[in-house]
Symmetry: C2
Subunit: 390 residues, 2 copies
């Protein structure tokens, strides 16, 4: 008992993220004086936009340090509603919006409210690794569906026809996706929404990378149906990672149950963060965010052909987020070892496929373009040199 942890059975399935160990090793090397190009980190390299931070500071000056209602500040829910109208021309009743501690909080609310023990949640593999574990915590079953380049690494209506069973309870999709950066077309989303609804299930749509889309426009799934759930976040596009703030849009009839869970597990989201986020929709903030989006696009437009030229296979052009998911089998069938050596020998940190699922992870890598163009160029040069040593 004293020397061995007596943990719940589900913990056996909840593995540490390899990227954390990799990041720790990268920091260790840096502390020894090595220069490391970070292409492993899933966080924008920008501080929170100044108007948002200023609003946070002002909120603290005014003493806004007590709990808000569990669903969040009405003013913020209204601002999000206006955002959907002006940005997407979709009417979303503020009563359907719940403010959460990051999109992580939204996912927890959904799993707790919707998933019974043994219920299956269908999701794409590769995908965001925490999703599987959110389901496990409520004793549901993550059901991973292998996806490939043919469908843009996304679930489709056909996948649902093939894999939906009596044990299926919900489908979780992400558009844009982590780690592949790909989108789901509106007509495909509409077909999936209809399919799931006809079976009395739930469609959960992760739109947390929604503002970071390049060369096209992403439509919110809320334009398609009022019966689906949308998860969003102030972290990525709005640059507020460390504040821990996101939101959830739910069909109105589910709001009371979601609110009850929120009252129990959060009480409320961070109050200073909520006041700060009121400034996220200001024109001056949006200008900054649009500049940043263009910078991310420039990085993608550099990195994608550069990696392809080196021999990494990226069959689908990622249109969003800040990730490239590459097949490295020309160089290695052991992406974890490849990443280890790339870090140790060349000073470049990237994430191996194993963090994203069980679909051929040993032949895949995720490159994040969350560092400057200059650093990306240096990274690519180092990788090129490294590949000649293999």
């Amino acid at each position: 008992m004293a020397d061995k942890a007596n943990v719940a059975r589900r913990m056996a399935a909840i593995q540490p993220f390899y990227v954390m160990a990799l990041l720790a090793r990268a920091r260790e090397l840096e502390s020894e004086g090595r220069d490391i190009v970070h292409m492993e980190i899933g966080e924008p390299d920008f501080e929170t936009p100044a108007p948002i931070t200023a609003a946070g500071i002002e909120a603290l000056r005014q003493g806004h340090t007590q709990y808000t209602p569990a669903r969040g500040l009405l003013a913020l829910r209204q601002a999000i509603s206006v955002f959907y109208k002006t940005e997407h021309n979709v009417v979303v009743d503020p009563e359907r919006i719940i403010i959460t501690p990051g999109s992580s909080g939204a996912l927890q609310l959904l799993m707790s409210t919707l998933i019974n023990p043994g219920d299956q949640l269908l999701m794409a593999d590769p995908g965001y690794p925490c999703n599987r574990n959110f389901v496990r915590l409520v004793e549901g079953e993550p059901f991973s569906i292998p996806v490939a380049a043919e469908t843009g690494y996304q679930l489709t209506h056909s996948h649902l026809q093939q894999y939906w069973s009596s044990r299926s309870r919900a489908v979780l999709v992400a558009s844009p996706s982590n780690p592949t950066g790909t989108l789901i077309a509106s007509d495909e989303m509409a077909q999936m929404a209809q399919f799931v609804q006809q079976r009395g299930g739930h469609l959960l749509v992760d739109e947390i990378y929604h503002g970071l889309v390049y060369g096209t426009r992403a439509e919110t799934a809320l334009a398609i149906s009022d019966e689906l759930f949308v998860i969003n976040s102030f972290s990525k596009y709005f640059g507020m990672t460390g504040w821990r703030l996101g939101w959830l849009v739910a069909p109105l009839v589910y709001v009371p149950a979601l609110e009850r869970v929120a009252q129990n597990i959060f009480l409320s989201a961070s109050t200073p963060a909520q006041y700060a986020a009121l400034a996220a929709f200001l024109p001056e903030t949006r200008l900054i965010l649009e500049e940043r989006r263009c910078i991310f696009q420039q990085r993608r437009d550099y990195l994608l052909p550069a990696l392809r030229q080196l021999g990494f296979d990226i069959p689908v052009t990622p249109e969003g987020a800040f990730y490239l998911y590459a097949n490295c089998s020309r160089f290695s069938d052991d992406s974890e070892e490849f990443c280890r050596r790339l870090l140790e020998e060349a000073g470049v940190a990237v994430t191996p496929g194993k963090d994203f699922g069980h679909q051929d992870p040993s032949r895949h890598l995720r490159f994040a373009y969350t560092t400057s163009l200059e650093r990306l160029r240096l990274g690519v040069a180092r990788i090129e040199q490294f590949l000649t040593t293999l």
Copy 2:
């Protein structure tokens, strides 16, 4: 489907808190011009102490807006470790400390990491209502043990001998307790710790009201054993409710599993809040907190005899937190209706027993002294008048 929510089975057991509806009604009456004395709110009526807020503002100015490690800032974990040494003369390795989004986050980590489906978590009734629901979310079973004045409304070693079974996995106690404000004596805690450890179970100790103790000193359970888990918070004593920040102290061997869950469900606690909390242990902050503690004590010292004199039965003198749990059966056997009328007719909001468990709730009320002495006097005068109308 469209007009009825299709939620998970566990939601049937997760009830809304009556106090939320009561608070909403109180706000409604206020918006109509009524003056309401609030004795229902479980949140200090003080803003965050100025040095903490100033540290938060400074952190934002310096751009500390990105994720921290999942376990939290090392500097904050070290500051908490020093606090245990100077305040309690207990050595707590910073490696055993995990920073969480409120103590709610700490409870979630514990349930997810320790409790299997069907496992029982033993707890006192009356108690903090969310505790039951944290267990339900991971499909464990909250096992409520009725406690009474004889044991200071706390679990004892004898209770554990009586109720521990092969299905028991852990015991959760709170000292001071919500709603009763009572403490657990060190020798009783030590006996419970030994009992649970001998059976391979876990003792979880909620110390979130720990700094708010009057006329005595509360020892941390960490002085008793390294094998138990302690939950604490910056919310109540440190006055940081809306920032959502707490911490967990665990046996070292459990830290990797807890960290894995934290990586999945939080990523990290709020970064600005963590930097702000570094100022919570400064001498100038502690002076403010000590002043506030004295104010709470004055309120208790006024309210306790005043309510007893009116005829409410409060058999055990509460030594901590900011709650009085009173038997109202001299006036009513329907505390919910009593609360409703007290609010509507006398303009005083208090919480009925039903929010705290199943142990004779209809004959109990919780009074919170989270408002000024002047307002408490007004509240008592109104209650006195109201009682004459019954």
